[in-house]
């Protein structure tokens, strides 16, 4: 056992990994409801560390977590935390949630409202002797910086503090896998990143797989070692955040990944030596220089451009490194929270551009105004055409 662990260390890139075999592997099918529109049908494995489950609401993320925790029974498949099978339809294995040792932080946290923070944390330690239980809960309250709240009820503490209590309650039981269902939704960025730091620190010592459900793009880049993109019950892509999010092959991920602008395009020139191509957007004369992908002249592609990656100029720009200057006419300008959303007609295609309020004021933007859009070559993301 010792030797195995050591050889595992040399192969794995994480030197401190305690139990190299203890990954989560899931292969299951679950019908949503009798007349449901889709099944949940997934197969993936998650080693120790954070794996992001990314997808729109209704994609089946919470159902998947419920299956792993044993709160919902899949129609068939296998769920294993090596070497223990939690569920195996072929062998008739279906462990009760109590026997799975799965830590689960629910979307609404599900803290026990009638118990203090400390009693919540100690809830899962009932089998331990009283002093051991107190010692463990004190230690985890300390490491999540909530010792001072131990006597307070959940409704008497702030949102971020409640998330910490919920995390501590799940982690103090030493789970084999941790499921987090949008646990940090509704927190400001600073609070969020502090909690994530504490979680990462905890997992350096424990090295368990953590499945982290989110539907926000920012969290994917901020947290993930690995991403699994899920939509309508299917896995669309998995890999590093960069692989999954910046080079989407499927339009659904592209929309998930925040491409406000997606256009059909035709390849009109390929510049092998410069590593670029020229594509014309369908229904317009707009030609874009894009990164080179394997495609032939005349081939159909799709181009995705984030609204935040486009620059807007009221004068024709000169001396820029960006290769794509597109003249256009301002169609509309609307405010969304603290951001301006501009719709621009570029002669047959409409582009969405996001600006700050300050930019709107200093440029004195008006509808119908003549403007230029600036798009860098590498801001054009290519995906397979329809």
């Amino acid at each position: 056992m010792e030797d195995q662990a050591k050889s595992g260390n040399q192969e794995g890139h994480e030197g401190t990994r305690r139990n190299p075999g203890a990954g989560l592997s899931v292969r299951l099918r679950k019908r949503f409801n009798p007349d449901g529109e889709f099944d949940l049908l997934v197969a993936f494995s998650a080693p120790s560390g954070i794996t992001i489950l990314f997808g729109p609401s209704g994609a089946g993320k919470t159902t998947l977590l419920d299956c792993i925790a044993g709160l919902t029974t899949p129609d068939d498949g296998q769920i294993t935390i090596a070497p223990k099978a939690l569920f195996d339809s072929a062998r008739g294995v279906n462990l009760a949630p109590q026997a799975r040792r799965v830590g689960y932080v629910f979307q609404d946290l599900a803290l026990f409202p009638h118990l203090s923070a400390e009693k919540n944390v100690q809830y899962g330690l009932a089998s331990l002797p009283a002093d051991e239980c107190r010692r463990k809960s004190a230690a985890i309250l300390e490491s999540f910086r909530i010792s001072h709240l131990r006597a307070r009820k959940p409704r008497e503490i702030s949102g971020g503090e409640r998330q910490r209590v919920a995390l501590a309650r799940a982690l103090v039981t030493d789970p084999c896998v941790l499921l987090l269902d949008e646990p940090l939704a509704g927190l400001d960025a600073a609070t969020k990143s502090k909690i994530i730091d504490d979680l990462r620190q905890w997992n350096q010592a424990h090295q368990i797989p953590i499945l982290y459900v989110t539907h926000t793009r920012e969290e994917v880049f901020a947290l993930g070692d690995r991403v699994i993109a899920l939509a309508a019950g299917r896995i669309l892509a998995q890999g590093t955040p960069h692989e999954v999010m910046t080079a989407p092959r499927e339009e659904t991920i592209a929309q998930l990944a925040g491409f406000e602008n997606i256009f059909d395009a035709t390849v009109i020139a390929v510049n092998q030596d410069r590593g670029t191509m020229t594509c014309r957007l369908a229904g317009s004369k707009v030609e874009l220089e894009t990164p080179l992908v394997r495609a032939e002249v005349g081939g159909a592609l799709r181009v995705g451009i984030r609204a935040g990656d486009i620059l807007l100029s009221t004068l024709e720009p000169h001396g820029l490194s960006a290769r794509n200057l597109i003249p256009g006419r301002m169609l509309s300008l609307t405010q969304r929270d603290v951001m301006m959303v501009a719709k621009v007609d570029c002669g047959g295609v409409e582009m969405e551009v996001h600006l700050t309020l300050a930019a709107r004021d200093s440029l004195a933007l008006q509808p119908q105004q003549q403007i230029w859009l600036v798009v860098k070559t590498y801001s054009c993301h290519l995906m397979a055409g329809s």
Partner: protein
């Protein structure tokens, strides 16, 4: 005033509320959480005493307690006397009669406990029993108190079942409501009124206490 009848009535009501406070919990738990497809039949059974005339209920309870039923015979063998027309018989009849008044508030409050809390309890390793005593019950205390108080008050005010099952034996089965009936029959309206007023006052104070304590927001009403 027949204080003996009062003492007997309070004893009966307290005992019935106590028994239902224990017996009603598993029944209510089952009603709140079972997914048995025929559950509605059991729910209807439990609720029958609300709609049945007490004489109908009392009649069947009397038969069940009598020497020809297995229950009555068993009791006779064990104790040497019959169940009918005894205080014990009255307790059994009253438990059945007041069952829905305990079970329904219990079950209703169990069902309002957030299912995610039960899921959280399960993933933290707690058995169903532990989940019940650590999560469901503490969050259902208002419903529990309501159920206890309603079954207490309901037992205190029952008449038909007592008359059918218990008869009218002073100190054994003569409760306040029977006592009032007797007094009215004897045209003694003055003492009937006095007794009725006391019963009225006790029931009103008890229910006011329950609803007052169960309020969401606790304030002194006169402030």
């Amino acid at each position: 005033m027949d204080w003996q009848a009062f003492r007997l009535t309070l004893q009966l009501a307290a005992l019935v509320a106590l028994v239902l406070g224990v017996l009603g919990l598993p029944i209510a738990y089952w009603i709140a959480y079972s997914r048995w497809r025929w559950k509605f039949v059991a729910e209807a059974m439990v609720s029958l005493p609300i709609v049945l005339p007490p004489t109908v209920l009392g009649f069947y309870v009397l038969l069940a307690l009598g020497p020809r039923s297995p229950l009555g015979r068993g009791w006779q063998v064990l104790t040497g006397h019959s169940l009918a027309f005894t205080f014990e018989g009255l307790v059994i009849g009253s438990i059945i009669y007041s069952l829905p008044f305990a079970v329904q508030p219990f079950a209703a409050s169990f069902a309002t406990v957030d299912a995610r809390l039960l899921a959280a309890s399960a993933t933290l390793g707690a058995s169903r029993l532990r989940t019940f005593f650590r999560v469901i019950f503490p969050l259902s205390v208002p419903g529990f108190v309501t159920g206890l108080a309603l079954s207490f008050a309901h037992t205190m005010g029952e008449f038909g079942v007592v008359l059918m099952v218990g008869g009218n034996i002073p100190g054994v089965t003569r409760t306040v409501s029977i006592d009032i009936y007797d007094k009215v029959q004897a045209l003694d309206y003055v003492s009937a009124n006095a007794t009725a007023l006391v019963l009225f006052a006790i029931s009103f104070v008890l229910l006011s206490l329950v609803y007052g304590l169960n309020r969401r927001i606790w304030v002194w009403p006169w402030k």
